[in-house]
Symmetry: none
Subunit: 204 residues, 4 copies
DNA sequence: CATGAATGAGGATTCATTCAT
DNA sequence: AATGAATGAATCCTCATTCAT
């Protein structure tokens, strides 16, 4: 075989370097876009040489995968409060509102990242897979929590997916269009009641 | 100053060339993607010289804008039956189902185009604007039809936007994930009743 | 398909450009070697841009093939007097000597080219094929001339191949080692008489 | 000045490392070729660090020299039976046949090595020198044996060189072209009788 | 108007060699 | 002495755009 293997860094310094490359790439991809960022810029921003980048990553797309992985990891972290809390009949509306607020916040805070990485997912199947995996995991977790809260499984997953679409739409309205606060607030109220309604239909 | 002026073709032959370039680009962008298609290929597929392309378009991105314009024009054509039909209390569920079917059909038939152009819209604001404009126009038309059918305007537009998100989600489920027919059919039923419900809340 | 096809130049200027690239490459490959010559140097020496090189050739190796083709064409030209002359019992020794002199001359004059391209043939099958083809053609032509001169076909081709080896060795002695003139002259005499003997064994 | 000094290993461990590097390189150069083998691969295959390679060798080409040295050493070993045996008038044809068989065998067994190293010799004078030295030594040894067997020195060396060319040609026919067994066998017979004839001419 | 040859900057990747640890 | 991480120059090739004809 060849010796051109990818180094899996174990030592502190190596891990730091790998992380620095990912972080620098993350920022550059958000700022300039993946296609307009070249490997020399990544290396410079990460404070390493161009050559070393290829010790840690197969190629530029490999860096992208890690960057998207990081983006999704951060998404998960932002949603952790939801996943850790328990859902019951009483707090469902509150939980939904919190979920919506978190979704909007994460979309808004990282609008550039969101746009860039979602676009790349559409253009590239390897990236798409990462997003699909995240989405599936999230919906399954919510599904289990709802079942535990007494919501019946009958078509619950299908309902959840539609709820997800409602929330995504809400997020897009925030970052894509310049709606005024009243409109957004009204849409949010409608979204919450629609979602509550959708879930209640699966109630005993 | 004026050397870079773009010709606005008036003569038949010129218009045909411009159209040929757009059509050829449309096909190539769907087949290979925008970034993997070069201008030499476009010219060749359109049966013109590479130089002439720059008489009709400022640059490659300018071609893309026209191609997306064409894509949206075709979308509009597909939805024309809906826009031409009248909506009333009695046929609302039927109209919604038809709208959903058309949405799914247009997404599915042009999955490649949809993915490619949506991605490019996320990466490029000029393209995003075209999509936003289409979406706004469509929702406004529906809005007016609903008002004419007796649906109250109170928050109707906000409701409509949420309905749009539900339908988009349904389409994504068709093209992104390999759901089975039963799941898709169930989601569609849920979507229809949810949308009907959302609109009925705005009923007198 | 793609538009990245290789241009087959028909117009004078294009043919000149293609030829200039091949000639410049020929010289550079002889002077610095194939691996130490980069495409920018080739373009510069040919008086063209780097990009245009790839309009006429698929890649660097494609240039090499043409260069070796040119080398072999020049070899053929040098041997043409032999191929055009007739062989008979009476002049066989003279023809052999002439052939040897031509071989030595062509090896000596283009020692750098010979070394470089023979080496690349050993390293690369596409190039090897060009040389093999030349060698086969040459031997077959000689074979037919000998048959016409009354030499029997029985094992004649095998004999010819051995004669070829003798001449090659003679050439190598000229370019590889610093032999003195007497030695070389003696070797030549031995070679001639050996070859004559080898061919005579196939005489009626 | 002295920082670049190459260690001449005296201790057992050092010698083993040096040898491991040469052996690993030998195999890799045969398998992948010199240009496609990088120093990291060599170090890995030899079980040493990349840095240590530069303690034992000036640079990559220095390794190549040693590898070719090893190749030639192995060649010599294969021919040792010939060099150890005595030649006389009675067994000359047998010895020649044995020499031919050994030559063909060594070429065939190490066709990859033979091609690669011969090519590199053509591209690089330092390597060429190693081969020339081997060839000279071999021919001189044979020369002396022949003289001892009563063959006259008159032009004997020149004859020998031509014989060598005949044998080389025979070997090339084996590894370069796909000749059938009958052809090869015939060529071998012709070669033997030609060589015997060439040597007999120098007989008293 | 039209052509398509020509440009040349730009970009991903490799690898012999060095050097801090 | 030994390591292997790090360097960064070098290279092949692409392609949007221009311009001589």
């Amino acid at each position: 075989m060849s010796a051109n293997e990818i180094r899996i860094p174990k030592q502190k310094r190596s891990i730091e370097k790998r992380t620095a490359i990912i972080n620098a790439s993350y920022d550059l991809f958000c700022e300039k876009g993946y296609y307009r960022t070249n490997t020399a810029e990544i290396a410079k921003a990460a404070g390493v040489s161009t050559g070393i980048v290829y010790s840690y990553f197969h190629d530029k797309k490999d860096i992208l995968k890690e960057v998207v992985g990081l983006y999704i990891f951060r998404l998960e972290e932002q949603f952790r409060p939801i996943f850790c809390s328990t859902i019951d009949r009483g707090n469902i509306a509150v939980v939904i509102e919190k979920f919506i607020d978190l979704s909007i916040a994460s979309h808004t805070m990282n609008a550039a990242a969101h746009n860039e990485f979602l676009a790349l997912a559409l253009l590239n199947n390897d990236i798409q897979v990462l997003f699909n995996h995240f989405e599936s995991k999230m919906l399954e977790t919510l599904y289990e929590k709802l079942v535990a809260a007494g919501y019946l499984g009958d078509l619950l997953l299908e309902r959840l997916r539609i709820c997800y679409g409602i929330i995504e739409q809400l997020c897009h309205e925030h970052i894509r269009y310049k709606r005024n606060d009243v409109e957004l607030s009204n849409m949010k109220s409608i979204a919450i009641s629609t979602i509550v309604g959708l879930l209640d239909m699966a109630m005993g």
